[in-house]
């Protein structure tokens, strides 16, 4: 115990130096001048905590090592299909019973499931850290927004185009960039994400500038609008068609089911990709690029497919986000959004689809449920990202890779 004492003391002093200026002396505005408001109790508690933790460091380390994360139950082939079928059935039936705002939060969670799975292809499968993923998300959203604003197109006409435009951007931006080394690639994609957002802000006469585009219609069900009154005289609303009283929950549930469908498509595609030759090539490339090149595989072209596919799913997600929110403006496509989607992939486990799905749900539902801690939300995000990388870089639910057997 005593051996730890000097270490603990130094740690406590360091804690004091760190806590005092930021938490101990709070800057407050008094009229013209600012003054310092002391909050010493936080600082003392902090230093005491650090001191104790450092003192008991050996025991805590041993105790902590014994913590076994619940390992995921392994199910063989048929159970596997049964499990997924049960889950999907539950997901489809549930909204008709869940509360309206719970369904709405679930829709937002499903958007992040889709974005997480999309980014997972780029980061998890191909090992490319894309920090500008939000740029493709914005391209998808604005494609729908602009096509509606300038050409009056509906959601269903724009959805495939939004994906295609985002994929095109992914291809054009990816091509010159993919031969760069890992961290340079990350920073260049970050630059692209910011440039896209700045262009959306500055090209005011096309993109509506900082106001963006509002009044974007939500998706219709085979032409039936889910609103109280049809937007155009010849349009027809859902409730008139089935002549039942207008119930706003229809729209919320419809949006949820749409989000679920898009998320499932993303899941199925990314599941297939892993088992296809392209999936194997990504994995081989991640392990040893030089060996791949010596066997005739073109690394840039292989990485490009991952980059473009990821961008495509971000495009679909963006179009749906625009439809759900009815408004697109540059404010919602900042770097923090990219970091959020990245933390979904990182928390779930890079390359693990199930992990990404659960992480996406957790990271959207938790902050809504625990509303009072809302201001600690971003602090927790940052902390969790560091903790995950130090403690379990492979993520909470690392997936065992699908193996082709003889």
């Amino acid at each position: 115990m005593l051996a730890q004492l000097p270490r603990a003391l130094i740690a406590a002093v360091f804690a004091f130096v760190i806590l005092a200026p930021i938490f101990g002396l709070k800057l407050v505005r008094q009229g013209m001048h600012s003054a310092l408001q002391p909050h010493w109790n936080i600082v003392l508690w902090g230093c005491a905590a650090v001191f104790v933790v450092q003192l008991l460091h050996p025991w805590l380390a041993r105790l902590f090592a014994r913590v076994r994360l619940p390992s995921v139950p392994a199910l063989d082939e048929e159970h596997h299909l049964w499990a997924w079928a049960a889950v999907v059935l539950l997901a489809v039936v549930w909204p008709f019973f869940g509360g309206r705002s719970a369904v709405d939060i679930a829709t937002l969670a499903l958007i992040y499931v889709m974005l997480g799975l999309g980014l997972n292809i780029v980061v998890g499968f191909a090992g490319l850290l894309d920090l500008g993923f939000v740029g493709f998300y914005a391209v998808g959203a604005y494609t729908y927004g602009l096509l509606y604003y300038w050409a009056g197109w509906s959601f269903w006409e724009c959805l495939p185009l939004a994906g295609a435009m985002a994929a095109l951007f992914g291809f054009l931006l990816g091509f010159p960039v993919l031969r760069l080394r890992g961290d340079y690639l990350a920073i260049v994609t970050l630059g692209f994400g910011e440039i896209i957002r700045l262009l959306l802000t500055n090209l005011t006469d096309w993109t509506g500038g900082p106001d963006g585009i509002s009044g974007i219609p939500s998706p219709t069900l085979f032409g039936l609008e889910m609103t109280r009154r049809a937007s155009s005289p010849e349009g027809q609303t859902f409730h008139e068609f089935f002549d039942m009283p207008f119930n706003p929950d229809h729209m919320v549930i419809y949006l949820y089911l749409l989000a679920l469908a898009l998320a499932l498509v993303t899941l199925l595609v990314s599941n297939r990709l892993l088992r296809m030759p392209i999936g194997r090539a990504w994995e081989a490339l991640r392990e040893d690029e030089i060996a791949c090149r010596s066997l005739g595989l073109n690394p840039t072209r292989i990485k490009l497919s991952a980059f473009t596919l990821g961008a495509m799913f971000a495009g679909f997600g963006g179009a749906f986000f625009a439809a759900r929110q009815g408004l697109v403006n540059p404010e919602s496509f900042t770097f923090i959004e990219s970091a959020l989607i990245l933390s979904v992939v990182v928390l779930g486990g890079m390359g693990s689809q199930v992990g990404v799905i659960l992480a996406a749900v957790a990271l959207t539902v938790l902050p809504e449920v625990v509303r009072e801690f809302a201001e600690y939300r971003m602090l927790a995000f940052g902390f969790v990202m560091v903790l995950m990388m130090v403690w379990r870089p492979q993520g909470l639910l690392p997936m065992k890779r699908p193996q082709v057997d003889l």
Binding site: S34, D183, V346
Partner: protein, 308 residues
């Protein structure tokens, strides 16, 4: 309309003072990258913490205390450098040292997490609103050139360039001649080899982070005094631009960081001056993307030959 030349000189000076701050922060990126090949994404936030601690020191002393201006600034620098140095050490100790041998991607994500954490850490402690810093140095040296345009060189901005020049020279001498300087150069050549030769690489790496943090802290205090507005998010954009400067100059080379900082500051200011300030950030990001694409080793950087 005034004639071209004095206007250009004024914009050049504006660019220089801005570039000096970028250079100070860029050195932090370059030194860390040179030694452990890692982009310290949270370095912008260290700069922000330095600015905040400087403001806390200034508010504690109070502007009416009658002390001479330079003593107040010296006190602000002293406190900010110490606290931020501890921040630099702790960040490295918690978020980077355990990841020393893990893949580059993992360390970068941890750095991003630390950057978000520090922003909200200061946001929680000091609030997310804009904090004003009363101006300590006012007045300017004016130069009449051309008939109507009067070039004004604000003392506070001149101070920035002066302090930064002095620090650059001191740092270069330190790296060339001191024992720790030699050790850090050895580490940046080949970390494993340095360890084999008995250099305590952990200590050198910690020292590099602390030195980077100290320089960033000076930058933070100087920007606080001159610009006068702080919030927990100023570190993010300044960090990215400083990284652009480091890459422009050639990541890993300290003179490169200085050159890159000045060039970026001038390029941005001229773009804002002659095109429109809306495209100031786009010029910076555009430059970053172009450099990384066409000359990843930067102007003064050493090309990295990929060993097969």
């Amino acid at each position: 309309m005034t004639d071209f030349f004095p206007l250009f000189i004024q914009q050049l000076f504006n660019g220089l003072s801005l570039g000096a701050i970028y250079a100070l922060i860029a050195i932090g990126y370059t030194m860390v990258y040179g030694i452990i090949g890692m982009i310290n994404f949270a370095h912008g936030e260290i700069y922000m913490v330095g600015a905040y601690v400087g403001l806390v020191a200034l508010t504690a002393i109070g502007t009416q205390s009658g002390l001479p201006i330079w003593l107040i600034i010296a006190a602000m620098l002293a406190l900010s450098v110490t606290v931020t140095g501890v921040y630099g050490y702790t960040v490295e100790r918690i978020a980077y040292r355990p990841l020393r041998s893990s893949p580059r991607l993992v360390a970068l994500i941890s750095a991003i997490g630390m950057s978000i954490f520090l922003q909200n850490w200061v946001g929680l402690g000091q609030g997310t609103r804009d904090m004003a810093v009363p101006s300590l140095i006012s007045g300017a040296y004016t130069l009449q050139m051309g008939e109507s345009f009067e070039i004004t060189i604000a003392w506070s901005r001149l101070m920035i360039i002066g302090v930064v020049l002095v620090l650059m020279i001191a740092l270069t001498l330190f790296i060339q001649h001191s024992r720790m300087g030699r050790a850090s150069r050895a580490c940046s050549q080949d970390l494993q080899m340095a360890e084999l030769l008995g250099i305590n690489t952990d200590r050198v790496i910690s020292f590099t982070f602390v030195l980077g943090a100290v320089l960033a802290a000076v930058g933070g205090v100087l920007i606080a005094i001159t610009v006068g507005k702080l919030n927990p998010f100023i570190g993010f954009i300044a960090g990215i631009k400083a990284f652009t400067a480091a890459v422009l100059g050639g990541i890993g080379s300290i003179p490169g960081a200085m050159l890159g900082g000045v060039l970026l500051g001038v390029a941005e200011t001229l773009a804002a001056g002659y095109i429109s300030s809306e495209y100031k950030d786009i010029v910076a990001f555009g430059l970053l993307v172009l450099i990384l694409l066409f000359r990843p080793t930067g102007l003064l950087g050493k090309p990295e030959v990929e060993k097969v």
